[in-house]
């Protein structure tokens, strides 16, 4: 009965769901800890190091604190939307993870939950859903600062969504596929796409900073001017969900960059540059993927504690006047080069 392919398929899907949830829900709180520790180190401080060895239990303490807080619901908020918004921020990131290949294969199990042909389109479409959560949170809070935060978030995300999509077009032209597994396999044979498309990589990563509301583009939150932006009116677990959502978004963004530009689960030498046939190579692939994602997360944190926030008009100017044309020119240049190489 266990060897029946149909049942095996279901078991694999269950295992993958558990693995993805486990990975995300364990990495995300530790990203918060990493953020606090690294920020402290950059500022010559120590950071939270008291709860558990070197502060390793700090995320648990934080989560407990958030859960035990009073769940405030002001009279003036739009209650249904207000309650819905945090979930809307958190869900898309988990959904995007369904199409990301986090390894090649462990035994007979492929390491991607849904090997969709239009995987990247799905990822882009779903990822932009999280802006709804933020905009709705700002709107439903029915007060000034959250509203401003929500508006900024909507405007910012629309501008950067365009660059995000356009910057990836050259990749699709080169690999000829929207399937993320296929893109990773292309990279195992031809080398990392970052080396072919540095401009696209730069635009994509920068737009992702804007997508994830990370400094230097964290205008929706902007502690100093909007106090905390869209999540001012939130407390307790609802705030926790926003917090978690922000870091889960960051995790997904890192996973996307890893998959698209950094060769996904592969390393450019044997036996890591081909889909695994043995179990330990498969596990190593998962490890490599997680390591690359962590490196990207470090980049996110590092940039946040280096670069000051952009002014709002600078942000818009950068999006529409620099990245948008740059991405278009990049597409044309790559197209011309590809045409030349095909014909000559």
């Amino acid at each position: 009965m266990w060897t029946d392919p149909a049942i095996l398929e279901w078991i694999f899907i269950l295992v993958k769901i558990i693995v993805i949830f486990g990975l995300v829900l364990s990495i995300v709180p530790y990203t918060v800890l990493a953020e606090r520790r690294i920020c402290a180190w950059i500022q010559d401080r120590v950071g939270p190091n008291r709860v558990g060895f070197q502060g390793l239990l700090q995320p648990i303490a934080d989560a407990l604190k958030l859960m035990l807080k009073e769940d405030m619901l002001s009279n003036h908020v739009h209650k249904v939307v207000f309650t819905l918004a945090p979930a809307l921020v958190f869900m898309p990131s988990l959904m995007v993870l369904a199409v990301i290949p986090w390894g090649s294969a462990i035994g007979p199990m492929t390491c991607v939950l849904s090997d969709m042909n239009a995987g990247m389109l799905f990822a882009l479409a779903v990822a932009s859903f999280s802006v709804y959560g933020i905009a709705l949170a700002g709107w439903a809070s029915n007060s000034k600062y959250p509203f401003l935060g929500g508006m900024r978030s909507a405007a910012q995300m629309i501008s950067y969504e365009v660059c995000l999509g356009l910057s990836l077009v050259p990749l699709f032209m080169q690999t000829g596929s929207l399937n993320l597994s296929a893109i990773v396999e292309y990279q195992t044979q031809h080398g990392w796409l970052m080396l072919y498309h540095p401009v696209a990589c730069f635009i994509f990563i920068t737009s992702l900073f804007a997508e994830c509301n990370r400094t230097p583009f964290d205008l929706p939150e902007a502690e100093q001017e909007l106090v905390s932006g869209y999540n001012i009116e939130y407390s307790s677990l609802k705030f926790g969900l926003f917090f978690l959502g922000e870091y889960a978004n960051m995790l997904v963004a890192s996973a996307l960059v890893t998959t698209l530009f950094l060769g996904g689960w592969s390393l450019p030498f044997a036996p890591f540059n081909a889909p695994a046939t043995v179990i330990w190579v498969g596990l190593a692939h998962v490890g490599i993927f997680v390591a690359k994602v962590c490196a990207m997360l470090f980049l996110f944190i590092w940039v946040r504690w280096t670069v000051p926030r952009f002014r709002y008009d600078q942000l818009m100017a950068l999006g529409w006047k620099v990245f948008f044309p740059l991405a278009l020119v990049n597409i044309v240049v790559v197209a011309v080069i590809m045409a030349c190489r095909a014909n000559l």
Binding site: W41, I42, D44
Partner: protein
Amino acid sequence: MIVERPKLTIWDRLYMPQILKGMWITLKHIPMKRFTRQYPEETPPLPKRYRGVPTLVRDPEQRVKCVACQLCEFVCPPRAITVIPGFRAETGPDAKVEKEPSDFIIDMARCIYCGLCEEACPEEAIFLKKDYAMASYTREQMKLHKEKLLELGGIHEDRICKWKKK
């Protein structure tokens, strides 16, 4: 004063080189020395004349030096000190000594650590020690009574033993 805006070259206006430079600076700071003091384990070095908690002291022969003259109570700017005078034992080492406080209360919630009590004391019976972490959970606990003050103060080793020669 008019500050001239610096003329930015193309290199500066590209913005990226400067960001990379900044990122290199922040990266360099990661392994650097930390300036945090791990407080309860590492206490700060206190200056020599640091004024901490006011305490009562005993002389080398275990007598309470305070004679309940109440000068400290009068001089105390925030009125943190309350002295309740009492009498000493008729026999033993205390026999020739004047009065003694039956209770001596310093309200640490009011004390401003000015040290005027120490200056005013004619018997050199009250001293400000270096302890500073005197927090409590209730206002009542913040009131230090005679036993506690004597315990904090300990014995003051002075050469002039006034009551020995009387």
